[in-house]
Amino acid sequence: MKLGILVNEGPFTHQASDSAYQFTKAAIEKGHEIVRVFFYHDGVGNANKLADPPSDDRNLVSLWSQLAEEHGVEMVVCVAAAMRRGINDELLAAGFKISGLGQLVEAGIIGDRLVTFGD
């Protein structure tokens, strides 16, 4: 199955990003293809490489970057949502790129399912 993933909230404040990460990882482990993970609304905060949580807590930004590196997952941050919230190219962690909302629509068209995680 080809999956598109939409993440609407940032790390830490809502569990949405955690759930999306765990779901995406499980889907990859089962052999499914991740068409794209798209970060919208406050979800753009998942791409902020400056995130520095306490060492005894998970770091979702790093976890997403690792997932992209190990499995070639495409991770796209919405440019309009990112500009509003002060996320630009210089803040992007490894594996993330900034692009337009069309990338979300395209993930919906190409994928067999689009699964949304948010608040």
């Binding site: 999956l3 779901f23 499980a26 399912r113 949304t116 995680f117």
Partner: protein, 102 residues
Amino acid sequence: MALLHTVNKSPFERNVLSDCLRLAKDGSAVLLIEDGVYAALEGTSASDEIISRNGSIKFFALGPDIEARGLSEKPLIDGLTLVDYAGFVDLVEEYSSVQSWL
């Protein structure tokens, strides 16, 4: 063709489970995740929401979220099925589309 609905909010805090069940057809499935899993508890003021549709809708809850919230030893509503993240993926594959009630 039937939908998979996900609900991630506590039924004690928000009305979203009711909103979902108003629009969920018989034969569809509802997966409780995150704070949504509190709706899986038996014997609460919210239990009837699920019990009243039990049988016509398949109810699932995410086990890791149940465990995280200390609910493993509490009685859950009869007939509700626990799944892990891999089971969540299977449900997404099994149903025709996913509606996330945010």
